[in-house]
Structures are given as structure tokens and as C-alpha cells.
Symmetry: C2
Subunit: 250 residues, 2 copies
């Protein structure tokens, strides 16, 4: 193989959550490629070229990164969180899959990161301490009907649920529909966590009973975690703890 | 508050995947509490007492850690992976919930880590690049009927699936039943990843079509990831890539 492409997760925001593996890859890189706000987290230095690009150009970005690696450069594609969870890793492999011979000699490795749901869960207690599911609520890349079907089945399975990309300016109605489905399918006051910009200075966390949830409580920087029927709220001085016990009785 | 209890994730095994936040908490600790093999990962030093304990004593361990923190010690409870995913965080909050006044003045924080499914997924490509669910296959703490129900609903939702604790010596039959359910419910040759001891020197990864999966391919150190109906295998020199595209067509 010639050329190296690393697809790295920067974690949710705090530097203390960037793994040493990712830090080492960035220190060794000649080029860093990614969405503008994520590339902005990388300190400039001699010998490193930063390639920020806009949202929704993931496949172009992936091809550009693969091409540079094929030329022998040491390229790091950065995502926030973990690159394998609704982020750049799948996009790079989609690009590769469409033209595998072109990049046959590029070594590709994925460097995991702390994905937003783990950071958000940690801030609140342990809401994902029992079985759960993880959905991207954006319908840019899948039909809304599939999202709704999955929400209903997840409620029937009594999974806790973690939602990425719950709501954007361009499609504000999706999350409203998701909440309506959940209110109908769950039918109780289970806790919902709205965790915005977790581990950054703008962090904001709200815990709201499902019937009181409103769509405008989320935006694209918000991670939403919906408890299962067994999820509990434990009041404490300061902030309450939200956790899902490990056990379910027979 | 007096006393500090940190519940920290050590990641899947490699030191390069331990976050700086966790490293700092360990450097500041007076006491480290956890399951024997996880505590064995902590280097002894003056001023630090290690408290390794056996498996299946999670609540005793949690109470011990809370008591020491209440005495003013700086205690770190360690889990492998992430403490919030089938690990010690929920156990600590269960203990707390049973007797909240006893530990009312202990500050508790959860420090996230790279959970096994993210590390396993990264080693293989991006199998969790689209919606997925996460199950603990152990029926120590929940009835088998619930596991089977969740597997069937997850297949109907066409989630990729990540399984923790697939198979132990004391209950080898559960994973065999899980595979039977999946073979029946999925009815195709989707890829299944058996990722054992990921990021350690004993790492072993196999990619097996679902109809050919056998129970003995997994043990308690194995993370199992089952692709969705859209998960693809991309042959490459060296190892193939397994990834789930971001898109599903309408």
C-alpha cells in the first residue's frame, strides 16, 4: 500500500476526550480534511494543510481525501464524535466502493472517538445502561416512513433511544413528528434528555418528561436520549441522575 | 459535597484509546475499584490503593466505592469500554438509588470511554454507519423471552445490531438461540463480525455470513456485530471492509 488515510473521531468537543491515538495521527498528518467546524478544532502548524469543506459534500470530501492519500500524503479525515456513527467513515467507504481500483493501494484505518451519545449519557448518569437503539433522525438519506417504522418498533422493544441530528432549520417538522409518534407509542412520562453541545462551553442539558417535550427543545447540536419504560430519575443536590437499571424482572 | 467518585471507562484495551480525562482522574485517585482484569490495567504507585473484585459483585463493589468516597477519598471505579454501556455506571446509580441519603454528599461523575462496539466497528470499516441497536445478550438480569422479542423487533426494524456478552461458559445456549432467531428473522447472508479482544495483542476478527455462524465463534471477550440488510462487504488486499451505507432508498 502507498498512502495512508485515517478517519478519526475528535470526540464531542472537549480536548480531554480526544484519544491519544487520534492526537498522534493528527501530529503525523500532512493534510486534514473535514467539515468546517471540525477542522477548526485542529491547530495549524508547518507542514500541515487544512482542508475545511461545507456540510452535505461528504462524498466529494471523501474522494478528495482518498486522492491525496493515493499521492502518498498522510491524510486524516476528521469527524466529531466517532467517525463510524453517522459520520465520515461510511462516506469514505461508499466513495471507495464506487471505484475500488482507483484507491486500491491506499491504507485506510478508522480511529474511534467518544461519540455524542456516550458523552451525553455520562453527563446525566447512565440512561444507556440497558439495551438501546441509535437513530439518525435526518431524512436526507432515508425515507421518513422508515424512521417512523423504526421508532414504533423501538418503542415496542422498550429500547432506550439515542437520536442524532434530531432537527435542522431545513426540516424542522421531522422531530415534531418523531415526538408525536413516541408520545403515542410510549404513553408514559419517561424522561427525555436534551443534551446540547456536550462538553463544550455552550453545554446545556435539560431533562423533560416525554409528554412535555416540544420540538424546539432540540437543534442540530442536540443529542436526544429517550429513556425506556424502566429509566429512572434520581433527584440529587445539583442535577438529578437519569439511569436505566441493568435488570428487567421476568 | 465531600468526596468524589469517578466512574471511568478504560476503553477496549489499548492504552492509546484511554482518554486524557480518564488518565488524569487515575493520576489523582487515592483508590481504584473494579473487576480484577480491569484493575490489573492500572499501574500501582504510592498513595494509590487498588481494590480488585470478582465478577457479579457489582452492587457490593459500588457500595464500597461510594462509602470510600463519602469518607473523603478520591475513588475511581473502572470499567472496560464505556462505563455507561453494560458496565459499572448503572450499578453505582442502582446502589445509590437504594439508599440515597447515605451518599448524599458524594460528588459522582461519569467519564466516558471508547466502548467495545466502536472499537470493533472501527477495525472492520463502518458497520454501524446507519441506524443500529445495542443489546446485552446475557440473561443474568433479564428474561430470555425479552431478549428474543428484542432480536425479532430489531430484525423487523432492519437495524444493524451490536451484542455485548454474547456467550459465557455458564450459559452457552443463549447465543445459539439468538443465532437461530436471527437466521430465521433475517433470512439472508448478511455479514456478522466476531471481534475478540479488540485492540489487545490477542485481537482476532472474523467476518462470517449469518447462515454460517456457529455459537462457538463467540465467547465473553467477543463483540458481535450483525449487519443490516444493506450492510456491504468490500474486498480489499489484506482484510475486507464491512460497512453500512448512510442511505436507504425510498
Amino acid at each position: 500500500m502507498t498512502g495512508l488515510l485515517s478517519i478519526a473521531g475528535l470526540g464531542p468537543g472537549a480536548e480531554a476526550l480526544v484519544t491519544p491515538e487520534v492526537t498522534a495521527a493528527l501530529a503525523d498528518a500532512t493534510d486534514v480534511v473535514g467539515y468546517i467546524p471540525y477542522v477548526a478544532r485542529i491547530a495549524p502548524r508547518d507542514g500541515l494543510t487544512l482542508h475545511p469543506s461545507d456540510n452535505r459534500v461528504e462524498l466529494d470530501r471523501a474522494r478528495h481525501a482518498l486522492d491525496m492519500a493515493a499521492e502518498g500524503r498522510r491524510v486524516v479525515v476528521v469527524s466529531s464524535g466517532d467517525p463510524g456513527v453517522f459520520a465520515m467513515a461510511a462516506a469514505v467507504f461508499e466513495a471507495l466502493d464506487a471505484d475500488p481500483a482507483r484507491w486500491a493501494r491506499v491504507e485506510i484505518r478508522v480511529l474511534p472517538g467518544i461519540t455524542a451519545m456516550l458523552a451525553a449519557a455520562a453527563r446525566c448518569g447512565a440512561p444507556l445502561g440497558h439495551d438501546f437503539c441509535v437513530l439518525n433522525l435526518s431524512d436526507n438519506l432515508k425515507p421518513w416512513a422508515l424512521i417512523e417504522k423504526r421508532l414504533r418498533l423501538a418503542a415496542e422493544a422498550d429500547f432506550a433511544m439515542a437520536f442524532y441530528n434530531p432537527r435542522s432549520k431545513s426540516r424542522p417538522e421531522g422531530f415534531a413528528r418523531a415526538l408525536d409518534v413516541l408520545k403515542e407509542a410510549c404513553g408514559d412520562a419517561r424522561p427525555v434528555i436534551f443534551a446540547r453541545a456536550v462538553t463544550t462551553p455552550e453545554e446545556e442539558i435539560r431533562i423533560v418528561p416525554l409528554p412535555e417535550c416540544r420540538p424546539e427543545m432540540a437543534d442540530m447540536r442536540t443529542m436526544v436520549i429517550v429513556g425506556s419504560s424502566t429509566t429512572r430519575i434520581l433527584p440529587r443536590d445539583g442535577a438529578p441522575v437519569v439511569y436505566t437499571p441493568r435488570s428487567v424482572d421476568a
